[in-house]
């Protein structure tokens, strides 16, 4: 079966104030897979993600998301593309002036003609998927960190996007909550055929969800391939990263 590419990056180079943060980054993500972009702090993961989302201007290289070339999109095309993307921000990024329910329902209210009553049901269902129905009328400031993350995920999947971007979903979550979040992402992947691009450095989470791994180091792609290959990789950076697992095993023995 020919795998369809949902994200394709070729020769992406970016610099801030003459300092090159990405140099010639190339990788791709396949449809229906979870692609994990990983790397140490400062390796340029978030910059790559912001380029994929069109939040940073593309100066050099080529990026296509869902078959659309990011560099050449008009404003309308970009907006249409955004409707097909779900984005989960590290900090949650829920609007503070709206309740959780209103936050999740916002894209539905703005972009469809579904009656209010039905929107409320859809929102309740989406919140149910992340076990947060009871927070419908609460404001983001009244939620704990973990709850905020789940609410943010509910908003990201409000429109059933075919492609979901997650920026460090694990940051600040306990392992148990993280595991249930991972299961949720896997569920979405298998049932909705959702493709996921995940930026993270939680090894446990990578082991659970990743189909494909892209490893960045100092702004360069040093590894790209399946998780199995990554685990056997001899690339020093990748090896060091996954050796954490080994030490954990050694301790158990």
């Amino acid at each position: 079966m020919q795998l369809q590419k949902v994200v394709e990056v070729k020769g992406l180079t970016a610099s801030f104030d003459d300092k090159e943060v990405l140099s010639d980054v190339s990788f791709s993500a396949n449809k229906g897979e979870v692609t994990v972009i990983l790397g140490g702090s400062g390796s340029g993961k978030t910059t790559v993600l912001r380029h994929l989302l069109g939040l940073l201007t593309l100066h050099q290289g080529q990026i296509s998301v869902l078959g659309k070339d990011i560099g050449t999109l008009t404003e309308d095309e970009q907006r249409d593309l955004y409707l097909k993307l779900g984005v989960f921000y590290q900090s949650g990024a829920l609007l503070n002036s709206l309740t959780v329910g209103e936050n999740v329902g916002l894209p539905l209210v703005q972009h469809s003609r579904i009656p209010r009553e039905l929107i409320e049901e859809i929102v309740t269902m989406k919140l149910g998927l992340v076990n947060l129905e009871y927070a419908y009328h609460l404001y983001p400031s009244q939620l704990s960190g973990g709850m905020l993350k789940r609410a943010a995920l509910a908003r990201a999947i409000a429109m059933d996007p075919p492609l979901l971007f997650c920026d460090e979903p694990g940051a600040g979550l306990d392992p148990v909550s993280l595991e249930s979040l991972d299961h949720l992402i896997l569920n979405l992947k298998s049932l909705l055929g959702m493709s996921v691009v995940l930026v993270t450095h939680e090894v446990a989470s990578i082991m659970r969800v990743a189909d494909r791994v892209v490893f960045l180091e100092e702004g360069k792609t040093v590894f790209e391939g399946s998780l199995e290959k990554a685990l056997k990789s001899e690339e020093p950076g990748v090896k060091a990263f996954f050796s954490v697992l080994k030490t954990q095993k050694d301790k158990n023995l």
Partner: protein
């Protein structure tokens, strides 16, 4: 005739690009995809048509449904519920395995709508507000004031763990940097005040009283008040924003766990700086305000500087200096305490910082004006 029509297999076809509905023999066949756009149509238009027909039973046939998303599933349930309410017996049949799976995933596991907490009655809200005012604001403010004054006294005698260098720093920020704007604003106000009065005084031939008017107004009211308002706007907001930011980023907690009292470490140097520099700022304001009045008197009423200064000696009293000094200390305390109070009250979000800063400025200016009128009565 009409009764018969109800029972007859009525037929309508609704088509919108990627999706179409065919209604035949009490069965609604759904074709194509049922996603966000189509669900909106299903829940609005198609539902309206179906309700108008009001069939006794209805089957939703999903055999030819190619793709469905969560909003589509919810829309199907929505139609089902709405028609069931009207007494129609609704069934869902067919559908590919994938569609079935999604129906289950986004299932209708008895979605319970969470009800909004009921609104409280007006007297209840009013009572809660009053209680909140006294318990949170009045009590909290007094507590903070006590705390700050305790530390400001303790800090004088206990030099060991005093924060080094911060007092001078704050004195420059709160006092020195404000001097130019205070100078300029007071000059303008003194000038305008005298200018407007000059016309009235000339009518009565009481030209010389322009000196009394300017000196008394500037010394006892305008100078201190203008200074306090400017300082509240410049430094009151800065204090509130700084402390609020420190609280949001957990810097205050960090200070505490390092064994440093945040009030002593952050607030006390600001209070000292404000208490020390305010009198000088007020002196600047008074001098330049009177100078402004003098300029206006010379231009509009031909009162030479010599006459102005001679008359000024008679008008000015030692009491005025005392008044100005007392006012400077009271205003400085109000500004620093209000900024600190609202800074500490910030909610844990970046949004809160802007909010408390605004409130701090509004409240400190109001309190300064209130204090001004009370002190005005006392020293009248």
């Amino acid at each position: 005739m009409k009764r018969k029509k109800k029972e007859k297999p009525v037929q309508f076809i609704s088509n919108d690009g990627k999706h179409s509905y065919r209604y035949e023999g009490n069965t609604l066949h759904l074709n194509g995809q049922l996603k966000l756009v189509e669900s909106g149509r299903l829940a609005r238009n198609v539902l309206r048509k179906l309700s108008a027909l009001n069939p006794s039973s209805l089957t939703l046939n999903l055999d030819r449904l190619e793709d469905i998303d969560s909003s589509g599933v919810m829309a199907l349930h929505f139609v089902k519920d709405k028609l069931s309410e009207k007494g129609t017996h609704v069934e869902v049949e067919g559908g590919s395995e994938e569609v079935r799976k999604k129906m289950e995933l986004f299932g209708h596991k008895a979605i319970e709508k969470v009800t909004r907490p009921p609104h409280r009655s007006y007297p209840e809200v009013l009572g809660a507000q009053v209680q909140r005012f006294f318990l949170t604001y009045a009590y909290g403010f007094l507590l903070l004031a006590a705390n700050v004054f305790y530390w400001s006294l303790a800090d004088l005698f206990n030099t060991k763990s005093r924060r080094k260098g911060e007092f001078v720093n704050q004195a420059v920020l709160i006092g020195v940097n404000a001097s130019l704007i205070v100078l300029f604003m007071s000059f303008v106000i003194g000038l305008v005040l005298a200018m407007h009065s000059s016309g009235q005084l000339r009518l009565f031939g009481a030209n010389i009283f322009i000196v009394d008017l300017t000196v008394i107004a500037v010394m006892s009211q305008m100078g201190p008040l203008i200074t306090a308002i400017l300082v509240a706007g410049r430094s009151g907001s800065a204090i509130a924003a700084e402390i609020a930011t420190m609280k949001v980023t957990a810097e205050l907690d960090a200070l505490k766990t390092m064994g440093l009292d945040p009030i002593r470490f952050v607030v006390v140097p600001k209070l000292y700086a404000a208490l020390l520099t305010m009198p000088f700022l007020i002196i600047i304001a008074n001098v330049s305000g009177i100078f402004g009045g003098g300029v206006a008197a010379y231009v509009y009423l031909d009162i030479t500087p010599e006459i102005f200064i001679n008359r000024m000696r008679d008008v000015m009293q030692g009491k005025d200096l005392l008044t100005a000094f007392v006012k400077s200390q009271v205003y400085a305390s109000i500004i620093v305490l209000t900024g600190t109070f609202y800074g500490f009250r910030v909610a844990h979000s970046a949004e809160g910082v802007g909010k408390v800063t605004t409130i701090a400025v509004v409240v400190s200016i109001s309190l300064v004006i209130l204090a001004d009128s009370i002190l005005g009565l006392i020293f009248y």
